[in-house]
């Protein structure tokens, strides 16, 4: 019991100290509003439906970009992982591009796509592409050669070999890439939405900043934290569902 409470001791202490500091006037509301005010702002946004609207907009954006970037990464990763010819053709180029941080592309993305929806999608999609691509490629390449040799000697070839041995063997690695991308997705979306947006969590916080509504800014920040955590939980659930055989996820004795 003691051990379960221990990790929460420090956050609770910080909250109490923060609340006290705000009430005593030590901390100006313009710098940091008191926790109760943040909670109140959250409640108000929730009741007005504003919160749901902005979260929905951001979520759709994030997952559309993930579908595009991650999907492309998966496709190209499977391609270069499976065919050495495709690797020879594509991998060097992709490895070079990989070294450019997605955020460095912002000026170019704005020039090409303006500051509309497309720009945000492109920015996030480019960022999440590489983790999925790299992990898919390595997953395919690192499938146990001995298992492939065994499967071949048992008469498996072509699509059967791919579906029964190579893809399942690469799946753990692919999911690592997806999980990494899910984290990156929110980070990139924050930046993209902060640059310019008419809706979304980024818009909510930037708009609040204009009016010095620090409580709403804080709600936005905490929302990103919660959504990031949620994405991670979802990724773990995906691993648990798709890798039931894996030592790390297998329920004991089943």
């Amino acid at each position: 019991m003691k051990n379960r409470l221990l990790p929460w001791l420090l956050p609770a202490a910080i909250l109490v100290a923060w609340e006290l500091a705000s009430r005593s006037g030590l901390l100006a509301a313009r710098i940091l509003p008191e926790p109760a005010a943040v909670l109140a702002a959250f409640w108000q946004l929730l009741r007005s439906g504003e919160l749901a609207h902005h979260v929905a907009v951001s979520t759709v954006r994030a997952f559309s970009a993930l579908a595009i970037g991650g999907g492309l990464g998966l496709l190209l990763g499977l391609l270069t992982g499976t065919w050495p010819r495709a690797e020879a053709l594509l991998d060097t180029t992709l490895q070079m591009l990989r070294n450019i941080p997605a955020l460095a592309l912002i000026p170019l993305v704005i020039l090409w796509f303006g500051i509309d929806e497309a720009a945000k999608l492109v920015l996030v999609a480019v960022g999440v592409f590489f983790p999925v691509y790299l992990n898919t490629f390595h997953g395919i390449r690192n499938v146990d050669r001995d298992l492939i040799e065994m499967a071949r000697s048992y008469g498996l070839k072509g699509w059967q070999l791919y579906r029964q041995v190579i893809l399942p063997g690469a799946l753990p690695s692919i999911l690592v890439g997806v999980r990494f991308s899910l984290g990156l997705m929110w980070v990139l979306l924050i930046v993209a939405e902060t640059l310019s947006a008419q809706s979304g969590i980024g818009y909510l916080t930037m708009n609040a900043r204009e009016f010095l509504q620090t409580d709403i800014v804080l709600v936005g920040i905490l929302l990103y934290a919660a959504l990031g955590k949620l994405a991670d939980v979802a990724a773990r659930a995906l691993e648990r569902a798709w890798l039931p055989w894996h030592r790390g996820y297998a329920p004991q004795g089943s």
Binding site: D146, L147, S153, Y154, L156, P168, L171, W245, A250, G253
Partner: protein
Amino acid sequence: MFLTELDAPTPVLERSQDDSTPSRPAANGLALQLRGVAKSFGARHVLKELDLRVAPGEFVALVGRSGCGKSTLLRLIAGLDAPTDGRIDAGDAEERRLMFQDARLLPWKRVVDNVALGLTGSDVRDRAMEALVQVGLGGRAQDWPATLSGGQRQRVALARALVHRPRLLLLDEPLGALDALTRLEMHRLIEQLWRRHGFTALLVTHDVTEAVALADRVLLIDRGGIALDATVTLPRPRSRTAPGFAELEERVLRHIVGQMPLAG
């Protein structure tokens, strides 16, 4: 320093009084023939001009020091590698199955689906279940391979090989990593299934006791060829304390170690 004296190649004996189960369907087995087989990796000649005949249904053990080429020979017969020279007649790929040193089960398939790997038809599951029951693991069909012990995994691998009704079963030190008790259990199981199905068996092992316990013939591979071809006529199932067992074991061991000429 190493003894090169060869035993005169023993003619393949017809199955006679040494076989306590005359009803064994030897006709299922595949005749194996190797002529002038050589294998080199670069400048290293692992096998040289090797000739071998194995009668249908015969159980042959290949022994030798590590690196002598016995596993290479098995891989050639299995068709996993191509010989540098020579001819191998070992039937079609579907007629032979190989059991590897490690079980090589697919971790993402349940035990029964591992056994069913490569099977086609409508009764795939039934056949896989039947094979699992034969190796005593009918109750673990729905488990993941990760939950099995080393011995159980090899039993699943054995079931996976046998479900194809091979006419030639190749065993590449499949028991090397198992503990002594599990090995004894596996010996009994392999012998029992061999007698029931009548396939030709080729077992690579570094364990001379295992070779003498299981095989009709023990072949010693050395310097790229067959250095000893000893026929084992002890009645089955063999006990380690049976008269003649220790002598034969000793004879093969001495040959391997090369300390003194062959006594028998």
